[in-house]
């Protein structure tokens, strides 16, 4: 039995104006095409322009990168898709980091319930926003690698948006943890110092390498708490020391605002980077 193939002009007709073929011929051709690669390629050759247009549409769907949950949330909040992608890649937004903060915060709050003293919580909590900001600036965490430093968007715009994005879940997690503190009057005492430290490390990052900036401020904070302890005596609860009393809170607020203002003045420095991390 000879191998039957569809006549070339039938194939061409089928390729270009399939609706115009009569039903029986079309049915015959269609059944044949299911089994014959040679005739299928005959159709393909006659229909060339269709193929590339259809491929472009398919590529557009299959190439699209999958958006992370964070990205989708940011887009829901009104951020344009491309910015949502960049901001969503902020390391401070990663579930692992936010969980760490929540665990640390709850742990410290648990200690407070046990011992009746919120000292551990108040000492640690303000440092965690600083940690989130540090993560945002670590060059090793930049998803685009070193090449990202040579792009137009590398600068204050993205840096500050990322910092703010990283701070939101940080403050939320700590806020929730602080609700577990025994005395609710102390529950918000960490907030302004935390803000001041975060703004401070952001400002210092325009002068020093990120890790150095973070270490300096952390040492400064520890030093401050130690000094206050020594001066005001061990019998006083940390929450009642000048750092967390209204005076201290006002100073923290003023420092935060000052740091933010200086950050704005020094924003050009965010587009440079020292790659020797």
């Amino acid at each position: 039995m000879t191998t039957w193939h569809a006549p070339p002009d039938v194939l061409a007709r089928y390729a270009r104006t399939p609706e115009a073929l009569d039903e029986v011929t079309a049915a015959s051709v269609e059944q044949h095409l299911l089994a014959c690669a040679e005739c299928r390629s005959g159709v393909a050759q006659a229909a060339a322009p269709v193929a590339s247009a259809s491929w472009a549409a398919i590529a557009d769907v299959i190439d699209r990168p999958r958006a992370s949950i964070v990205e989708r949330l940011l887009a829901r909040f009104g951020l344009p898709d491309h910015l949502a992608r960049v901001i969503g890649a902020t390391p401070g937004l990663r579930v692992a980091w936010v969980t760490t903060i929540a665990v640390l915060g709850l742990g410290a709050a648990a200690i407070a319930r046990d011992t009746g003293s919120s000292a551990v919580f108040l000492a640690i909590a303000p440092l965690l926003p600083l940690g989130s900001v540090l993560l945002t600036f670590l060059p090793a965490e930049e998803p685009g690698g070193e090449a990202a430093a040579a792009t137009p968007l590398h600068g204050a715009g993205v840096a500050i948006r990322r910092t703010v994005a990283a701070l939101v879940p940080t403050f939320l997690a700590l806020g929730l943890a602080s609700a577990a503190l025994p005395r609710l009057t102390e529950a918000a005492a960490w907030l302004l110092p935390g803000l001041a430290l975060a703004a401070g490390v952001l400002l210092l990052a325009t002068y020093l390498r990120p890790v150095l900036a973070a270490t300096t401020l952390t040492a400064g904070w520890v030093g401050l708490l130690t000094a206050v302890r020594v001066v005001e005596g061990r019998h006083l609860a940390l929450a009642d020391t000048v750092v967390f009393e209204p005076t201290g809170q006002l100073v923290a607020l003023a420092l935060a605002v000052l740091a933010a203002g200086l950050v704005h003045l020094r924003r050009d420095h965010f587009s440079t980077v020292e790659v020797t991390w």
């Binding site: 299928r40 159709v43 769907v61």
Partner: protein, 178 residues
């Protein structure tokens, strides 16, 4: 470049994420699938959408080809069901393109005409005696292998009507062929 791969090899490769394999498969099959879809749906844009959905579906689930039968037939199965999906989403029951016998006949050379009639003998004459609605139902249920429900979605008629028309079509065909 490398040797030409079979359809089966391409399906295996694209299940592993080989985008080039999908491209190759597309270039081979999109043209005939496109034509076949256009013969099931009057709106070429909907047919194009179904075609694209088909290849996206192949990309995402090529591992589901069981290795039996022709890949081409498997792909048509996906394509026709994607078309049904598109039609349902759009809520438009576009009538199936079924040219009546009065549509322009394909002009074929004499010996090819002979070959064609050997292929399907008296079927041509028998089919011509059926009404367009009955032919459409036959095409959907017999040629495309759709269930009565799927055929109903495609043709925009209730499944019950599909059943009755299919029975009538078969009876009339049997009568015309014997």
């Amino acid at each position: 470049m490398d040797a030409v791969r079979t359809d089966a090899a391409l399906l295996a490769a694209l299940a592993e994420g080989d985008r080039g394999a999908l491209r190759e498969l597309h270039d081979r099959h999109a043209p005939w699938l496109s034509s076949r879809l256009r013969r099931r749906c009057a709106d070429p844009d909907l047919a194009a959408e179904a075609l694209q959905d088909t290849f996206v579906a192949v990309w995402k689930g090529a591992g589901r080809w069981d290795g039996r039968g022709e890949p081409a037939a498997w792909m048509w199965g996906i394509a026709i069901r994607r078309l049904i999906g598109v039609l349902r989403r759009r809520g438009r029951w576009t009538p199936v393109a079924s040219p009546s016998g009065a549509a322009e006949e394909v002009v074929v050379a004499a010996e090819e005409q002979v070959l064609l009639s050997i292929e399907h003998g008296g079927l041509a004459a028998a089919m011509a005696t059926l009404s367009p609605e009955l032919r459409a139902v036959l095409q959907a249920t017999v040629l495309d292998g759709l269930t009565t429900r799927e055929a109903g979605h495609l043709l925009g008629i209730p499944a019950g009507t599909v059943k009755t028309r299919a029975m009538r079509a078969r009876a009339e065909l049997r009568g015309a062929l014997t």
